[in-house]
Symmetry: C3
Subunit: 273 residues, 3 copies
Amino acid sequence: MFEEIFDNVRKKSPLVHNITNYVTVNDCANVLLACGSSPIMADELEDAVEITAICGGLNINIGTLNQRTIPAMFASGKQANELGHPVVLDPVGAGASTLRTETALGLLKEVKFAVIRGNISEIKTLGLGSGTTKGVDADAADKVTEENLDGTLSFAKDFARRTRAVIAITGAIDIVTDGERTFCIRNGRPEMSAITGTGCQLSALTAAFVTANPDQALEAAAAAVCAMGLCGETAYQRMTNLDGNSSYRNYIIDAMYRLTPAELERGANYEVR
Amino acid sequence: MFEEIFDNVRKKSPLVHNITNYVTVNDCANVLLACGSSPIMADELEDAVEITAICGGLNINIGTLNQRTIPAMFASGKQANELGHPVVLDPVGAGASTLRTETALGLLKEVKFAVIRGNISEIKTLGLGSGTTKGVDADAADKVTEENLDGTLSFAKDFARRTRAVIAITGAIDIVTDGERTFCIRNGRPEMSAITGTGCQLSALTAAFVTANPDQALEAAAAAVCAMGLCGETAYQRMTNLDGNSSYRNYIIDAMYRLTPAELERGANYEVR
Amino acid sequence: MFEEIFDNVRKKSPLVHNITNYVTVNDCANVLLACGSSPIMADELEDAVEITAICGGLNINIGTLNQRTIPAMFASGKQANELGHPVVLDPVGAGASTLRTETALGLLKEVKFAVIRGNISEIKTLGLGSGTTKGVDADAADKVTEENLDGTLSFAKDFARRTRAVIAITGAIDIVTDGERTFCIRNGRPEMSAITGTGCQLSALTAAFVTANPDQALEAAAAAVCAMGLCGETAYQRMTNLDGNSSYRNYIIDAMYRLTPAELERGANYEVR
């Protein structure tokens, strides 16, 4: 299944509009190119709405949001909705500041998202109003473990049903659910969290996968999560004892460039619940 | 000839002011350092005009333009003109949105450019009002091939004469013309388009080359195009079967850092028409 | 001593708020992660003050400053002061434009800094009103050498006493002083200046080190300077004859990721005056 989904990305080369932070934007662009998609960035209201219209999908990432870019997020989100383009939300740092939390909640009210992807603290902030986001990383207290997995699953499913979005909570165990079916994914490496923006990259990737597979948002999001994690594994095998997080970042994007649909099918490590 | 031109860059170490997008700005800075130039970025109106004055050249790139940076582009462009500094325009995404197209056209009216560098769709948008820009990449329909090369050459020459700028259209075959003489360049690798910002890097590089060779804008722009393409070739030879677009990006900048003027002279692959 | 200081960074994993330029921000984030710290970026007034409050330290870097981010710098700086969080200033390009110089001078008036780190031209601009900043690099005329070292030391000490900040002037010889004691540091490689943002990275690193060692700002800043220089040395040994400034950038961050507190203790090359 993931083979066909990834194949669609490579064949259709979806054009994805990203309104995203300036910290990890270059990596987002390169990982989109690596997976076969084509990125464009535009965050000025006047420009963004028109760029949304020529693209196939939209990725909204609220890291380094500001009063100039927030209106572009809302307007592009609505524009994409009108055109039937899938929209992904990455609520970076929701729970860490009022502006981030309220912008994310406002977007949830006014824009229909295909996928919402974040760490557990960010998603809890949006779903329960109670996340304890530590900056842009998930708080240890929120961590998804084998022990609290069932509880997290039912929270995620409930949030998916309420938002009518696929919810992707990523961490040591990744959860991707549409409220009915859930993928529990165990790809990836803990060292990925020592690279800035692997989450941002995954959200961009998810937008590309969903754009190329509009009728299978759940499977496409799960495939993107598996692909990112699998590239983290492949890239890790390449690490020498001189390499650190900067080379690892390059190797992960390289791995995405080299990944074939068949390899994704074989390497994806998940169970459906 | 290119040997001397590149030697001037390395010897004079021109300070280049860049008003550019936040997606590829880091790579632009590193490729400028790699070629021997010194980059500075400033995009706030008040700051930019003064920075333009202390620099030798200016590179205006309209990717991720906004209402705050557009006035800086106009003011710095005029400032550079008054001081006789060369200005390069990279009309990223012209044709993809009204704001981009009109900003580029407005800049063409109010600023005298030494070089305008873009892909064929962007340049057609500016020259004919008819490009079919697909996001930030050239549209397949616009592609320069051996078959339509003559027609593209005469369009480029005409546009160069009208703007009194050197026009650099880059793609599989690169065209650099001042309206009289034209360099057709066949350096480079198709894989370069899988890296975000190789075009932006080339525009920054062009600004450095023209700044160090102010009386030879045509030759300097052609040398920059050859240098970037040649580095793409050299870097490609270094690729292993684990490397992808992220390592390739690093290798290209590395290759520029290592490139000697004599190697550029030898490796440049062009004909003058 | 540096062993314990670096150990504190790795153990406490300080959360550092960065208001910084968009050119080198990704490298700043990755070098913070490499040293064991956790970065967050926020530059919108409303967002920034709240983010400052949840962080342990603040790094203000004025490269690509603008009218939107300047108020955030002032407000976050004051907020950090009120909360007793250490604040680092990197006055990128002070002396190159009025806006940069005046913003840096204004910040010095209204915010108490733990550390001010810059090149000699930037620091002279702030301390004497007479630096001759060439863009974002130190001017050759200002260069710290064995010959003018004593004079530079007494200027730095005087500036430290006046600002009650640790002053870190980095270049071929690095000077770190609190006005009483001074570290003269000889780690590093000249090739580091061919990478954009090694100075920005060092300022971010310094914020992490000082945040994890709040009662030893002088030693923490000196340890950060030694760590960055040492990583420049280690990374240089790894360079092949194909590598250039882009790979070197990656290798330095990798080296920071691998650096142990004991290695820092052994490799730090300094004298205390």
